[in-house]
C-alpha cells in the first residue's frame, strides 16, 4: 500500500498564503443570508440580562424540541445546548422528538407535542413546504417558534416565528474549499460527493464549495456523485470507491458532511490511498480523529451546534417575557478546522474539551 501523509509535502507558499488570507477575511463573516434575505446578527445579540433571567424563571415556561433527525453529533450538540440553556433559564423541556427525516412524521410530532401545551417549540423543519401548515397551526395556538437553519415556507420572522438561528452553511462550503485547495497545493483532480436531495443545508454547502473552487483554476472536478441515503456512509464509500477506480490519479474528494466523509475514508484505506485528501463539513468525532492524526482529512468547515442551541433557547425565552426587537436571523460564522486547531475548535464547537479519543492521537 501507498504511504505518506500530508505534512511532509512542501506547501507552495503562494497558495498557502492566498488561502490563509481568504480565511482570515472570512473570520467573523457570515456569507449566508436569512431565508428572506435578512442580514445576519451575531450570537452576542442573544444575551439574557439578569432581570430578564429572573422574569423568565418566574414564568415557569415549558418547551418542546422537534428535530428532523436525532442521530448525529450535530443534533446531539444542538439538543445539549438547548437543554443546558433551558435548564439555566428554568424552563422545562417536556418533549423531544425525532422525525427520522420524514416530514409526515414531523407533522405528527408537532400535533402530538401540542397536546402538552408547550410555550416554546424549537424545531428544524424537515421540509419547508410540507411542514408549513402544521407550524402555522402551532403559531396560531400562541406557541413561540424558534427554528434552526431553515424556516417553513410562507412564515414571517418576528411575526409567525421568533427567530431562526443558523449555521453559515455556505460559509462552511467556502471554508472547506479553501482548506482542500491548500492541501492540494492549488492543483489536482478531485471528485465531489454531494447529497442528492433538495435539502437546503446541504445544497448551500455544495454551492459555497463549488463557487470558491473557481478561484483555483488548476483544480479540476472530474466527477460529481450524488448519494441518496439512508446509509450515507455506505453510499459514499461505494461512490468514492468508484471514483478511485475510475480515476487512479485522483488527489482529493469532498464529502458533504462527516458521515459520508467516513465512508470516503474507508474507501481510501481499502484502495491503499492514504495520501488522498478529503475535505468536509461538520466536526464529528471520527473526522476529528483523522484531523488530529493528520491523516486523510485535511480540513473542514464546522458549525457550532451547541451555541446554536443556546441561542435558540434564549430567543424563545426572551420572546416569552414579551421582549421585542429580537433579531430574526442569527447566524454563526463558519469555523475553519484543520490539523493545527482541531483541539481548540472542538472546545469552541461543543463547549467541552476534546475527548480522549481525539486528543490522545494528536500528532504534534
Amino acid at each position: 500500500s501507498v504511504s505518506g501523509t500530508t505534512t511532509e509535502e512542501a506547501v507552495d507558499s503562494d497558495i498557502a498564503a492566498t488561502v490563509d488570507a481568504a480565511l482570515a477575511a472570512l473570520d467573523g463573516q457570515v456569507l449566508s443570508l436569512g431565508p428572506n434575505g435578512e442580514t445576519p446578527s451575531g450570537f452576542e445579540t442573544t444575551e439574557v440580562s439578569d432581570e430578564d433571567l429572573a422574569a423568565i424563571k418566574a414564568g415557569g415556561f415549558t418547551a418542546a424540541i422537534v428535530m428532523h433527525y436525532g442521530g448525529n453529533d450535530w443534533a446531539t450538540a444542538q439538543i445539549e445546548g438547548l437543554k443546558s440553556e433551558f435548564a439555566r433559564l428554568g424552563i422545562e423541556v417536556v418533549a423531544v422528538t425525532d422525525a427520522d427525516f420524514k416530514p409526515e412524521k414531523q407533522v405528527s410530532d408537532i400535533e402530538t407535542v401540542m397536546a402538552l401545551n408547550p410555550d416554546i417549540i424549537v424545531s428544524i423543519p424537515t421540509d419547508p413546504v410540507a411542514t408549513a401548515a402544521a407550524f402555522q397551526k402551532a403559531a396560531a395556538a400562541g406557541i413561540k417558534l424558534v427554528f434552526m437553519d431553515n424556516v417553513p415556507a410562507g412564515m414571517v420572522g418576528g411575526q409567525d416565528y421568533v427567530s431562526v438561528v443558523s449555521a453559515d452553511n455556505k460559509g462552511n462550503g467556502v471554508v472547506s474549499a479553501h482548506l482542500l485547495a491548500k492541501a492540494l497545493n492549488g492543483k489536482g483532480q478531485i471528485g465531489l460527493i454531494y447529497h442528492d436531495a433538495d435539502f437546503f443545508v446541504t445544497k448551500q454547502r455544495f454551492d459555497g464549495f463549488k463557487e470558491t473552487l473557481t478561484q483555483y483554476p488548476d483544480i479540476e472536478v472530474v466527477e460529481e456523485k450524488g448519494i441518496g441515503g439512508p446509509d450515507f456512509a455506505g453510499d459514499a464509500q461505494a461512490a468514492a470507491t468508484a471514483l478511485l477506480t475510475k480515476y487512479p490519479d485522483l488527489s482529493g474528494i469532498w464529502g458533504v458532511w462527516d458521515v459520508p466523509a467516513e465512508g470516503i475514508m474507508a474507501a481510501a484505506r481499502e484502495a491503499g490511498r492514504l495520501d488522498l485528501k478529503i475535505a468536509t463539513q461538520d466536526l464529528g468525532t471520527n473526522v476529528a480523529i483523522q484531523l488530529a492524526k493528520n491523516e486523510l482529512i485535511v480540513g473542514l468547515g464546522a458549525q457550532r451546534p451547541f451555541d446554536q442551541g443556546v441561542a435558540e433557547a434564549r430567543l424563545g425565552a426572551l420572546a416569552m417575557i414579551g421582549k421585542t426587537g429580537l433579531p430574526i436571523f442569527v447566524a454563526m460564522g463558519a469555523l475553519p478546522v484543520s490539523h493545527e486547531n482541531v483541539l481548540e475548535a472542538w472546545k469552541t464547537v461543543y463547549s467541552v474539551d476534546a475527548p480522549d479519543a481525539v486528543s490522545s492521537v494528536y500528532k504534534k
Binding site: 416530514p103 409526515e104 407533522v107 402530538t112
Partner: protein, 319 residues
C-alpha cells in the same frame, strides 16, 4: 330474567379467542395505561385522540389493501414508493391541468404499478417479494427523476381540503378516508366472493384452484388494489403536506405490514382481519403518541416501543 342476559354474555366471553384478538386487548390495555399516567399531559384530550387517528390514517389505508395481499399469501414492498410517485404526479398534473386530471393521474400511478407487479406475480408466477422490491426501486427512482428530488408544492386548496388537509365538520378528513377504506375493506373481505376467494387462494393455492377459484386473477387484483390504495395514501400525504415529493411514504411498507400482522393476519396467508389491521395501526400510533407525551428521549422511545411490541406479542400466546 337476568340469566338470559348474563349467560350469553358469559358464553361470549368464554368463546372469545384471546390469542387472535390480542390486538384489541393490547390496545385497550395500553390506552388505559396512558390515560392514567399521562392524563395531565393531555393524552385524553379529544384533540390528541383525533391526532392519533390522523397520524395512522395513511398507514391504515395502505394496510387495508395489504391485508388482502397478505391474506392471498403475497407481499407488496412497493407501496411506499408508489405513494411517493403518486404524490408528485398528482401535484405536477394538478398544477398544470387542474384538479380532476391531477386526481386521476395520481390514481393511474397506482393502477399501472399495481398492474405490472400483479401481472408478473399472477401469470408468470414469480415471487411478489422480488417483483415488488424491484418495483420499489424503479418507482421511487422515477419519482426522483421527474422532480429532480425537489418537492412540488400544491396551491390548489380544494385538493388540499379534500385530500387530508381539511376537516369534514368536526372530523378530520383523513379520518373519514381511513374509516371508509376500513369499512369497505372489512365488508369486501368478509362479505363478498372476492374476499372469500382471496383467503382461499392464500390458504391453499392448489385446493383453491381445484375448486374453481381463479387464483391468478385474485393475485392480480390484490396487487392492483394495493397499488391503488398506496396511490391514494400518497395523494393524502400530498394534501396533508401541501406538496408532492418522492420521499412521502418511504419506508412505510414495514409499518404497514406490521399493522397487518399485529392485527392477526398471518404472513403465510389464508387469513385476513381488516378491523384487526386498523387496530394494529392504531396500537403503534398510540404508543408513539404516548411515549412522546411522556417526555422520553428518542432512544428511550425506541426501546420502550420495541419492548411493548415484544411483550404484547409474547403475552398473546401465553396460556
Amino acid at each position: 330474567m337476568t340469566n338470559s342476559i348474563v349467560a350469553p354474555a358469559l358464553n361470549l366471553l368464554k368463546r372469545f379467542e384471546w390469542q387472535k384478538n390480542i390486538i384489541y386487548i393490547g390496545f385497550v390495555a395500553v390506552f388505559i395505561l396512558f390515560a392514567v399516567t399521562l392524563g395531565d399531559s393531555g393524552f385524553t384530550n379529544p384533540n390528541n385522540l383525533l391526532n392519533i387517528f390522523r397520524q395512522v390514517a395513511t398507514i391504515s389505508i395502505m394496510a387495508v389493501a395489504m391485508t388482502f395481499v397478505i391474506a392471498a399469501a403475497e407481499i407488496d414492498l412497493s407501496i411506499g414508493s408508489i405513494a411517493g410517485l403518486a404524490s408528485v404526479v398528482t401535484a405536477m398534473t394538478l398544477n398544470t391541468f387542474g384538479l380532476i386530471p391531477g386526481i386521476l393521474a395520481g390514481l393511474l400511478v397506482g393502477v399501472i404499478a399495481g398492474a405490472i407487479s400483479g401481472g408478473l406475480v399472477a401469470w408468470l408466477k414469480v415471487p411478489s417479494f422480488l417483483v415488488t422490491l424491484g418495483m420499489l426501486g424503479l418507482v421511487v427512482g422515477i419519482a426522483r427523476w421527474i422532480t429532480a428530488s425537489a418537492p412540488v408544492p400544491i396551491a390548489d386548496m380544494t385538493y388540499v381540503a379534500i385530500f387530508g388537509g381539511g376537516d369534514f365538520g368536526p372530523i378530520p378528513g383523513l379520518l373519514v378516508w381511513a374509516l371508509v377504506a376500513v369499512v369497505l375493506g372489512a365488508v369486501v373481505m368478509n362479505k363478498t366472493k372476492f374476499g372469500r376467494h382471496v383467503r382461499a387462494t392464500g390458504g391453499n393455492l392448489v385446493a383453491a384452484g381445484y375448486t374453481g377459484v381463479n387464483t391468478a386473477k385474485v393475485k392480480f387484483t390484490v396487487l392492483l388494489m394495493s397499488g391503488v390504495f398506496a396511490a391514494l395514501a400518497g395523494m393524502l400525504y400530498a394534501g396533508r403536506l401541501q406538496s408532492g415529493r418522492f420521499q412521502w411514504g418511504t419506508g412505510d411498507e414495514l409499518s404497514v405490514i406490521a399493522a397487518v400482522i399485529l392485527g392477526g393476519t398471518s404472513l403465510f396467508g389464508g387469513r385476513g382481519q381488516v378491523i384487526g389491521t386498523l387496530f394494529g395501526a392504531l396500537f403503534v400510533g398510540l404508543i408513539n403518541n404516548g411515549l412522546i407525551l411522556a417526555g422520553l428521549d428518542v432512544s428511550q422511545q425506541q426501546v420502550v416501543r420495541g419492548a411493548i411490541i415484544i411483550l404484547a406479542v409474547a403475552l398473546s400466546r401465553k396460556k
